[in-house]
Every structure is written in structure tokens, then in C-alpha cells.
């Protein structure tokens, strides 16, 4: 097989163009003036909340401070110190990372496999698959989670009856509970991957695929050597998005394991933050957890963008 696997690099920009004396050059404030409305909205919607989050994470800020029972005091990094010395935080963090990784892997695998399948089947089964995927996609997370818990109920759930599991309780063991939630998360988030990748595959020129087929490439080989490189930008976007989604998973864990499972065995970072910030009104500590999550996700995204740029591709 001899296919150009990487896209041609864009020619270097002509240096001459930069020297053109455009009217913009004279008032270098003009572009900012035009950008100002958008920037103001962005700052209001993004920067300000993050700023508040960071600020609250540095304060002793519980219900007593909010309702005026005690004065607000500056704590410096006290909330962070408390958080990092809490063994449960590290356990929850590692569980979250592993769980999110498994979810991302599962979602991408199922999504991509079904996307390829979509291109190989006739119109009617394709429509059926599309509709059922859209159904899963459109189901609100709380509803989906509740239905899954019903399906896997030890006493009356059809799944146990079909599989002959008797009254096996899925939510009792740590691994089985995480597995159950993982299945639900994959179920409700694969459609986005599937639809996006399917659209990507449709945009691949037919002759490329035909050439691969003529060369005798297997389905797997075509996917790995032809489609993956061509779809890389799309795959990167859905991966980043899945990472962010699955790292922040809340509803599924909260509903299916009843707020974090038996003795908190199924806590993930977001539910843990909720427990700290809202259930026990330690808003400062909750904000600190939020900042940590933000930094982790920013880090993951930046590393990803970095890798992208190094490979000469732009998002």
C-alpha cells in the first residue's frame, strides 16, 4: 500500500504580505475595538466564574460565612492543604482517572465500530441503528440511569433473569458497580462519537477506500492505515470531548450508586466535590476540588493540543 498518509503541509506564509501597509496597521486598537463585545461576553461567562471559583477556594467559606454568622477569612492554600492531606481525595482521584479512561476507551471503541458498521449496512438497518443511537443520545441522564438501575435490579430486573444471575446485586461490589455505570455512560455517549465519525468516513473520498480494497486490505487494516490517519482531527476532537465528559461524570454515579456507592466506594471527583461543597456546605473546599479538576482537564487538553501541533496538524 502506498498512500500519502499525512496531509500536505501548508506552504510557509509569504513574508511580503506582512509588510502590506493596511489601514488596520495604523490604529492597532481597531481590531480590539471590534473584538470588545465578544471579549466582554467571554470574560463575563468564562473568566469571571473561574476567577470566583479560584477566589472562594482560598477562603474559609461555609454556610456560616454565606449567611453572615461568621466573618469570611482568607485561608491562603489551607483548603488545598486539607484536600491533599485527605487520603480519600487521592483514592477518589485515582478511581476517577481509571474510570474516565475506561469510559473513554469504551465509548470510542463502540462509537467507531458502529460508525464503520453504519457504512457497511443497507438503508433500513442503518436507519434502525441511527434511530436507536439517537434515542440513547436524547435520553436525559437521570432517566437513563434510573432505567438502567431498574434493568439490573437484583429482585425484579430482566437482565439478571436473562443471564441467570439470580439476585446478584450489581451495586454491592465496587467493580460490578463501576462496570454497571460504565456501561450506562458508554451507552449514552457513544452516539456522538458514532455520528461524528460516520460523517467523517462519508467525507473520505471513495477512491481512496476503493484503492485500499483493490490492494486487498482487510477491514481492520483499512481502518488502521487509511481511515484513522485521515480522520485524526475528528478522532482527536471526540477524544478530548470524551475525556472531559467522562472525567466530570456526575449524574450516572449519583443516581445509580445512590450518591457514591456503599461506604463511598464508587465516588468520583465530581460527586465528591458535590458532597463537600453542597451536602456539607464547605463551599471553599468544594471550590478547591473544582480548581484541581479544572487544572487537570486543562493539562490534558494542552498536552493533546501540543501533540497535535507537533504532528503538524491543526484542530
Amino acid at each position: 500500500m502506498s498512500l500519502p498518509l499525512s496531509a500536505p503541509r501548508p506552504a510557509p506564509a509569504e513574508p511580503a504580505r506582512r509588510r502590506v501597509n493596511s489601514p488596520v496597521r495604523q490604529g492597532s486598537w481597531t481590531p480590539w475595538l471590534y473584538l470588545a463585545p465578544a471579549l466582554t461576553v467571554l470574560a463575563g461567562l468564562l473568566v469571571y466564574p473561574v476567577y470566583q471559583l479560584g477566589l472562594i477556594s482560598l477562603l474559609q467559606y461555609t454556610q456560616a460565612q454565606v449567611s453572615g454568622g461568621e466573618p469570611v477569612t482568607f485561608q491562603g492554600l489551607g483548603n488545598y492543604a486539607g484536600l491533599f492531606s485527605d487520603r480519600q481525595f487521592w483514592e477518589v482521584l485515582s478511581a476517577t482517572v481509571l474510570f474516565a479512561a475506561a469510559c473513554v476507551l469504551g465509548t470510542l471503541t463502540v462509537g467507531c465500530a458502529l460508525a464503520v458498521l453504519l457504512t457497511r449496512v443497507r438503508a433500513v438497518p442503518r436507519l434502525a441503528l441511527m434511530l436507536s443511537a439517537l434515542g440513547a443520545w436524547a435520553t436525559p441522564a437521570v432517566t437513563g440511569s434510573t432505567v438502567w438501575v431498574f434493568l439490573f435490579d437484583p429482585d425484579s430486573g430482566p437482565v439478571n433473569r436473562v443471564l441467570g444471575l439470580g439476585d446478584f446485586s450489581w451495586t454491592y461490589g465496587r467493580m460490578s458497580a463501576f462496570t454497571l455505570v460504565l456501561l450506562e455512560v458508554v451507552w449514552c455517549s457513544f452516539p456522538l462519537v458514532m455520528v461524528t465519525v460516520y460523517a467523517g468516513i462519508r467525507a473520505v473520498p471513495a477512491e481512496v477506500l476503493e484503492a485500499a480494497a483493490l490492494d486487498g486490505a482487510s477491514q481492520w487494516r483499512t481502518w488502521r492505515s487509511v481511515l484513522t490517519p485521515m480522520l485524526r482531527p475528528i478522532l482527536l476532537v471526540v477524544t478530548i470531548q470524551s475525556v472531559i465528559w467522562d472525567f466530570k461524570v456526575f449524574t450516572q454515579i449519583y443516581v445509580m450508586t445512590d450518591g457514591g456507592g456503599i461506604a463511598g466506594q464508587n465516588l468520583v471527583l465530581n460527586v465528591y466535590a458535590y458532597q463537600k461543597a453542597f451536602a456539607s456546605s464547605q463551599y471553599g473546599l468544594g471550590a478547591a476540588i473544582g480548581v484541581v479538576m479544572l487544572l487537570i482537564l486543562l493539562g490534558v487538553t494542552l498536552v493533546y493540543l501540543r501533540l497535535l501541533r507537533r504532528k503538524g496538524e491543526v484542530l
Binding site: 453572615g68 454568622g69 454491592y172 456503599i262 451536602a279
Partner: protein, 432 residues
């Protein structure tokens, strides 16, 4: 010139950013108005119970009478859902302008609300109130924080042992008189009826588990030097924890199902005929009567460790308090006394089955309605309360005790290790 403009603009931008940052500290509400108006609208928030109509009728009567006696005063009563009460009440504390003057609140929340600065100190008025002399001591403790009174008890709720008379008759079982006998009867029931739990227990049913700790002489925490210290890992407390967690298993209530259950789940199991016994409250009667167990059960006080003793129960219940931000303090306190007074409590007992907090009213109630007798007996035998400190709210929300019971019930940790960890977490919360 150009440079000057640019510098000025930058400076302006920096200055503006500075003001923005300075003005953006998270909000904290101030002390609020300290007016004491003698007319206007008194706003009251009460909990919306299941089947709330009878409660509304009683409260309406009180409100109309109050309006008749006070010219130019209107009483506006709202019923808030129990599930979202925490958010509502937090909101009321944060925004005094739209807050009510009087609220009903769960008695385990007292210390937290006081720390939040939400409730008014009514020690003086409570002391002068003649009826309050008959208030039972635990109920008074539940409105008291650091020696000051922050409201009036409205009713108490207490749990006892429900058991199935038909099942006990079939198996020729005697009504258990010690906790050991309860466990033995539970195993027997399970052995003979494998579809049934002997005694329905729940890993998340803190208030059902506490009597086991107290019956063995253990305490959750003890106060010393102005501060609470967890004693959940003391030898006696551990004995009680072990007695409770031994009930999880195939011989009574399989951990795979029961570890995750809370109080309502155990009551539901009993009501549906899936349990031979359950620890449930006087307030659960309607739920049980709505199920299959109706007519086939009886209630006795949960026995203690020794024959003839009663396990100390948790004295739950609700109080009525005046908000610190109220601009009608005098009127609000007067209305509080009416709403939580003997006459109203008696009517509420007849209408809703709420157990009165006045010992004399309660004794009369037990005479009129035999069902409440075991509960009154339990109350008279002495009850216990959770540590009256804001730290308790955090322990409760952090699921410290349920986690402990669940770890032991699931066989993940021993009693010693789990209790020690729970004690550490409790001490951390007390220290804050």
C-alpha cells in the same frame, strides 16, 4: 502623544480590572434589620408532610385565632417540601429580605443553623413561658446550643420494634426481651421463611443502628472542655456496632442487599411483608398500614442489652424557631408559642399522630391512643440525641457512620479499624 494615550488607556484598563476584582468578593449577608414591628405580615414556613391536609387545618385554626387577637397582623403560612428544605432554609438565611419570620426545622439541624447565624436566641421568652416547664428534657436539649434556647420543640419522633404477630405465632416465638433475643428471633424467622428478612436492617440506617450502640453503654461522642470528642471507637460502642453489623448476612439480612438500605427501605420491606421485624418510628405507622403487614403487627419498645431494659432511642422530631432576621420579633415569638403550645400539639397529635413534647400532654395521648404507648414508654425510659454541634451536620452529610456500618457489614473491614476511622473523621469535623 500616541504613547501617552496608550499608557492612559492601559492604566485605565488596569484600574478597571482592579475595581472589578475588588468588588467581586463572594457575598456574605449582613446582620439584617433589627426592627420589631407590631403589625404587618408574619411569614411562616412549615414542612409539607405526606397527607398534609389535617396539619393545614390545625395550623389555619391557630393562625386565624392569632390574627383575631392582634389587629393589623396577617399570618401567611407556606408549606415547603421536606426534600428540598435544606436549600430553601439556606436561601432564607442568605437573603433576609425574602426570609420568613418563623420556620419549622429538624432538630438535628439546630446547632448548624445557630452557627450559620440564622436562628434567634429566645432563651428569655422560653424561660418565661409557663407551659415550657412541662417540656421533656431531651426535647429541650434539642433546641439548646451552648446553654441558649433557639426555638420551641413541636413534636418528637421515636423508633421502636415493629414485629409481625402472625409470623411470631406460627413459629411459636416469644416477644424478644433483650437485643440478643431479637437477633435470635431474627435468625429463626429467616431460617423458616427464606424469603423474609428476620429483622430488616440497613447499612445507611443510622438512627436504627444508634440504639444498639447506646444499649451497650456506648456513646457517639462526649463533651469535655467545651468540645466534643468522638467515642464511637470505645470498647462499649464497638460492642454495639458489632451487635448491629452481625445482623447483616445470609442468616438475617444479606449484606449484598441490606448494606445499601436506609431507614425508609427497611420500613418498606416490613410494610411489604418481606421482614419479620423492623426498627421503625411512630411516624411510620401510615406507611406500614398501607402495606401487606397491616393488621398483622404489633409494636414494643426495642429492648436493651439486659432483660427488662429498653434500648435508648434517638429523639428525633421538629422544632419551631424565629429567624434572627425577622422584623417582627415579639409577634413571631408569640406565634411560636401558639404553634408549639400544648393546645396545638394536642390537636396535631389527633390530626397527624405527632407525639407531643410536653410530658403531660403526651401521657394523656398514650391513654387515648394505645398505639403510641410503646413509643411513649421508650421516650420515658430515656432517649439520646446527636452531638449538639455544627460538626454533626458535616458528619451526617459526609455519611461517616453509614460508611462505617457498610464497611463492616460488607466484610471489608473489621469493627476496630472502621470505628477508629469514623472516630478520626468525627474529630476532624468537631475541630472545625
Amino acid at each position: 502623544m500616541k504613547l501617552a494615550v496608550r499608557t492612559a488607556a492601559s492604566l485605565a484598563a488596569i484600574a478597571m480590572a482592579g475595581t472589578l476584582l475588588g468588588g467581586c468578593a463572594p457575598s456574605a449577608s449582613g446582620g439584617g434589620t433589627q426592627k420589631d414591628e407590631k403589625s404587618g405580615t408574619l411569614r411562616v414556613w412549615l414542612f409539607r408532610e405526606v397527607g398534609n391536609k389535617p396539619k393545614e387545618r390545625v395550623v389555619d385554626g391557630v393562625a386565624r385565632r392569632f390574627e383575631k387577637r392582634h389587629d393589623g397582623v396577617r399570618v401567611d403560612v407556606r408549606y415547603i417540601p421536606v426534600d428540598s428544605r435544606a436549600e430553601k432554609i439556606k436561601g432564607a438565611f442568605n437573603d433576609p429580605a425574602s426570609a420568613p419570620d418563623l420556620i419549622e426545622y429538624g432538630n438535628t439541624d439546630t446547632a448548624g443553623y445557630v452557627e450559620n447565624g440564622g436562628l434567634a436566641d429566645v432563651s428569655g421568652e422560653f424561660g418565661e413561658w409557663r407551659q415550657a416547664r412541662d417540656t421533656d428534657p431531651t426535647a429541650k436539649e434539642s433546641v439548646t446550643v451552648d446553654g441558649k434556647v433557639y426555638g420551641a420543640p413541636l413534636f418528637v419522633g421515636v423508633r421502636a420494634l415493629y414485629y409481625r404477630t402472625d409470623v411470631f405465632d406460627d413459629l411459636g416465638l416469644e416477644v424478644p426481651r433483650t437485643l440478643g433475643e431479637v437477633a435470635a428471633a431474627a435468625r429463626r424467622i429467616r431460617a423458616e421463611n427464606p424469603d423474609m428478612y428476620g429483622l430488616a436492617v440497613g447499612g445507611a440506617y443510622t438512627y436504627g443502628a444508634m440504639p444498639f450502640i447506646w444499649a451497650h453503654g456506648g456513646k457517639l461522642a462526649e463533651r469535655g472542655g467545651g468540645r466534643y470528642r468522638a467515642t464511637i471507637d470505645s470498647a462499649r460502642a464497638k460492642k454495639g456496632i458489632a451487635a448491629y453489623t452481625r445482623l447483616f448476612g445470609d442468616g438475617n439480612c444479606p449484606a449484598a442487599k441490606c448494606a445499601a438500605m436506609g431507614g425508609n427501605d427497611t420500613v418498606e420491606a416490613f410494610a411489604a411483608g418481606r421482614a419479620g421485624m423492623a426498627v421503625a418510628g411512630d411516624f411510620n405507622r401510615k406507611a406500614v398500614d398501607a402495606g401487606e403487614a397491616e393488621g398483622d403487627y404489633d409494636v414494643v419498645p426495642l429492648p436493651g442489652a439486659e432483660r427488662g431494659s429498653i434500648a435508648p432511642a434517638f429523639a428525633g422530631g421538629n422544632n419551631i424557631g424565629v429567624l434572627k432576621s425577622s422584623s417582627h420579633r415579639t409577634l413571631a415569638v408569640r406565634l411560636m408559642r401558639e404553634l408549639a403550645g400544648k393546645e396545638t400539639q394536642k390537636q396535631l397529635f389527633d390530626a397527624m399522630g405527632f407525639l407531643p413534647t410536653f410530658t403531660d400532654v403526651r401521657r394523656q395521648a398514650a391513654k387515648d391512643e394505645p398505639f403510641v404507648e410503646p413509643f411513649v414508654k421508650t421516650l420515658d425510659a430515656g432517649t439520646e440525641f446527636v452531638p449538639a454541634t455544627p460538626g454533626w451536620a458535616e458528619i451526617d452529610a459526609g455519611l461517616v457512620l453509614p460508611s462505617m456500618f457498610q464497611q463492616i457489614a460488607g466484610g471489608k473491614r473489621g469493627v476496630g479499624a472502621a470505628a477508629r476511622e469514623a472516630a478520626e473523621k468525627m474529630d476532624e469535623a468537631f475541630a472545625e
